[in-house]
């Protein structure tokens, strides 16, 4: 089962994980990654008051669906869920949830890890943060490119 969604509103990550695990009783291992809005930013300065993710409809969801197919081609998964927020979020809100279910745990770990590295560095999202009442766009992180390089690929 593949489930890829762009989501406009806050969502219940734990509930999604529960439903997904229950839908895959043949899977011994279910690995999930939850990314949530941190109140303190990696950049210096004031705390983050809000975060906004912009997407471009003709590219973003199709790109996520292609990523899911790529992941399924690389590991023996029973199911893969990729949910990603867009729009404005508050600290603590979930941003991204990836859940991989597989018979053996190595596959699920690698699949979730790979999916996250590619979502962070290759998916069509643009992020800005609000601090002290001011919005500022976030530049790509070099670390994200380094994470991607672990999989032997260069950025598309």
């Amino acid at each position: 089962m593949i489930e890829v969604r762009l989501i406009e509103m806050a969502f219940d990550a734990a509930g999604a994980m529960r439903d997904f695990a229950a839908a895959h009783p043949q899977s011994g291992g279910v690995v999930s990654f939850l990314g949530q809005v941190r109140v303190d930013s990696a950049q210096q300065g004031a705390d983050v008051e809000a975060l906004e993710l912009q997407h471009y409809a003709p590219l973003t969801l199709p790109g996520m669906q292609a990523l899911a197919q790529d992941v399924l081609g690389r590991w023996a998964l029973d199911g893969l869920l990729i949910w990603h927020r867009v729009g404005e979020m508050a600290p603590g809100d979930p941003i991204v949830l990836v859940v991989a279910a597989s018979r053996h745990r190595r596959d699920a770990f690698a699949a979730a890890d790979f999916a996250m590295d590619h979502l962070k560095s290759e998916s069509w999202f643009w992020k800005r943060e609000k601090r002290g009442g001011q919005w500022a766009w976030v530049e790509p992180r070099e670390q994200d490119y380094a994470d991607l390089a672990r999989w032997g690929q260069t950025q598309a």
Partner: protein, 77 residues
């Protein structure tokens, strides 16, 4: 008319997420825009998508109804 779409910080520079322009060669369209916006849109890290598909920008000609999106480097998740 054709449409230009500006993502991320490019929308701030353009003063909006979209702009209607007369169809024609991309070079001619760009020549009608503000200088600092053109500089940003033609930066080496800006990619373009025509009607939802990534394309090379050399020799692009926009037809009526076309949508050309300018995509700065992503900063997702």
């Amino acid at each position: 008319m054709a449409r230009l779409v500006f993502l991320g910080r490019l929308a701030d520079l353009a003063g909006g997420a979209e702009r209607e322009v007369a169809p024609g060669p991309l070079a001619a369209i760009l020549s009608g825009l503000e200088h600092d916006l053109v500089q940003a849109l033609t930066g080496a890290r800006i990619r373009v998508a025509l009607n939802g598909a990534l394309v090379a920008r050399d020799g692009l000609v926009l037809k009526p109804g076309d949508e050309l999106a300018f995509l700065p480097p992503v900063s997702g998740g």
